[in-house]
């Protein structure tokens, strides 16, 4: 790779990072808190590309040093992630990834005392919140309330749909699903569609087939298809 081509590769790579972090695309891959660092890294890459071109054009491509040697060829590979972001922009992790790992409930931080839910019905709750309250507090704070959960559909081992959301600690490579089983009204949405589900606490708990951790259930009273939220991960 000669230096001008290297500069182009750096422009593509830095530009891809900048474009992803200036739109919401980066939220499919990493946490929101990484955004300022992504923007800074993208700008630095563009600056390095600009300075490479500047020195290259000023010296006319001949600085008299290191004749007859290669630049690192491996650098070509950097156009793969750049094009991955610019051309494909793969979607956030979905049902396929969720089916491969066990529910993240085992890693959940368990409070000793669960505070009462905020007023209003239905109460919007994250899947993690519902699952920890249902499993570790036997649903004491959930009983008698109308609850609204948002997630995507993934298939349970018994073939019925399960409500799922991925949690991410750092990037999608460490993404773990939180699964909530659905009983009551049948939710017949295809796999990977996002839904709002309204329902009440159910005491039913089944083991996750992958890691045997507890998967709580929700008794569905109504549901509605929706679009993917801005932040796909919890």
């Amino acid at each position: 790779v000669n230096r001008r081509a290297q500069a182009i590769v750096m422009v593509l790579f830095g530009g891809a990072i900048l474009r992803a972090s200036l739109t919401d695309v980066y939220l499919r891959y990493v946490k929101e808190s990484l955004r300022p660092f992504l923007i800074a890294a993208g700008l630095l890459l563009l600056a390095a590309a600009a300075m490479t071109l500047y020195y290259e054009l000023r010296s006319g491509g001949e600085d008299g040093h290191g004749h007859g040697h290669h630049e690192p060829r491996i650098g070509w590979l950097l156009i793969l992630p750049a094009l991955g972001v610019l051309l494909i922009a793969p979607p956030a992790l979905g049902a396929y990834a969720a089916g491969q790992s066990g529910t993240a409930l085992a890693a959940a931080q368990v409070e000793s005392e669960f505070s009462p839910l905020p007023p209003g019905d239905p109460v919007p709750l994250s899947l993690m919140e519902y699952a920890t309250r249902a499993v570790f507090d036997q649903g004491r704070t959930l009983d008698g309330r109308e609850l609204r959960l948002t997630g995507f559909i993934s298939p349970a081992p018994d073939g019925r749909p399960m409500l799922t959301r991925m949690t991410v600690a750092c990037c999608a490579a460490d993404g773990r699903p939180i699964k909530v089983g659905l009983s009551g009204m049948a939710v017949d949405a295809p796999v990977d569609t996002w839904v709002h589900v309204i329902g009440v606490y159910s005491s039913r708990v089944e083991p996750d087939p992958v890691n045997r951790a507890d998967v709580p259930y929700l008794e569905v009273t109504s549901w509605q298809q929706t679009t993917a939220p801005r932040r796909p991960y919890e």
Binding site: N2, G68, H69, L77, L80, Y96, A107, A169, C170, A173
Partner: protein, 338 residues
């Protein structure tokens, strides 16, 4: 088009140094343009080809690992360029103890103050060696920096609520491995195993020019190897379902080896691996500690980057030795604590 640009390039020891013929031929810039135009033409079909759920998940994980690593890579590269260009050699002589055996633990402790992923510490360690720091100390720093910095230890405390001994055991075992590997290098290491790329542009011309040349070179070089590692990690992530592992969880020795191998293959960044370890709840705490000690020191993307920066002969010896040391230290500390 005259091929003069690539003829002025500086050498890289990892690739054979064959002279480019000074002739008219199509250069890399033209190839790049052709590839980009072709890709733009098939752009709409591209998404269709990648629509299978496994392949799509692979692409998502691959892109995520790269996006996550970019800030750490770029800041590591900039810091290593600053070390290579602006920090005088005499600084390291004054900052580190003169005796190499003492410089190793000092460099290991210095890792505590550099928060960052492992992707940044590889080029930094290369720069340190180039600036005259004894390789043993630079290697101790390389191993310690991603494993025992405050961000990683805080993440470990959060991931294991009610078990602060996990973070303590992790810091302790990681420091032991880093220092032990430094001392082992002093006894057994040979300097000819490390082949740092020659970098003539660092020694002449203006400092600003040398700085940007170092940045460009390291981004392209370390970044390229990072792409290889990210692709391997994404493949493992998609191809190995977690249920395979669960059958090993009951065996005490096998579970340690299984999670140590998983840490190498998954190549999760050190700030996140504690959360993954916490969710592997069927495994013993000792085997999960081994997972946390091995991961930041030996994994696919690190091996790939070390091969690029230090040479194949180095990586082929250093990575397996570190793996053994990390498994022993993790298992040892785990047995004492639990």
């Amino acid at each position: 088009v005259i091929n003069s640009e690539s003829a002025t390039a500086e050498p890289v020891a990892a690739t054979p140094e064959t002279p480019e013929p000074d002739s008219w031929r199509i250069g890399s810039l033209e190839w790049l343009a052709v590839v980009l135009v072709l890709l733009l033409l098939v752009r709409n079909r591209l998404a269709g080809w990648l629509s299978g759920p496994g392949l799509q998940t692979w692409t998502t994980v691959f892109v995520s690992v790269m996006v996550q690593a970019v800030p750490f890579l770029v800041f590591g590269v900039v810091l290593s360029a600053v070390i290579a260009v602006f920090v005088p050699r005499s600084f390291w002589a004054r900052a580190l103890p003169n005796h190499p055996a003492l410089a190793v633990p000092a460099a290991g402790m210095a890792g505590v103050i550099l928060p960052g992923c492992e992707c940044g510490s590889v080029p930094i360690a290369g720069s340190l060696i180039r600036r005259g720091v004894t390789p043993a100390a630079a290697l101790a720093f390389l191993l310690a920096a991603p494993a025992i910095n405050p961000i990683v230890l805080t993440a470990t405390v959060i991931a294991f609520p009610g078990q602060p001994q996990m973070a303590v055991a992790r810091g302790l075992a990681s420091l032991v491995v880093a220092v032990a590997m430094g001392w082992l290098w002093l006894r057994l290491g040979r300097s000819e195993w490390i082949r740092l790329p020659r970098r003539p542009e660092l020694d002449d011309g203006s400092r600003a020019r040398a700085f940007w040349a170092a940045c460009r070179h390291d981004v392209m070089h370390a970044g390229g190897f990072l792409v290889l590692g990210a692709a391997a990690a994404a493949t493992i992530n998609v191809a190995v379902p977690e249920s395979w592992l669960q059958s090993l969880a009951a065996e005490p020795v096998l579970s340690v080896l299984a999670l140590a191998t998983l840490a190498v293959l998954l190549s999760i960044c050190s700030e996140a691996d504690a959360f993954v370890a916490a969710s592997l709840s069927q495994f013993s705490l000792t085997s999960r500690l081994v997972f946390l000690v091995v991961g930041p020191m030996v994994d696919l993307k690190l091996i790939s980057m070390q091969t690029g920066v230090f040479g194949r002969r180095f990586a082929a010896r250093f990575a397996p030795a570190t793996f053994v040391a990390a498994v022993l230290a993790g298992a040892g500390v785990g047995t004492v604590v639990w």
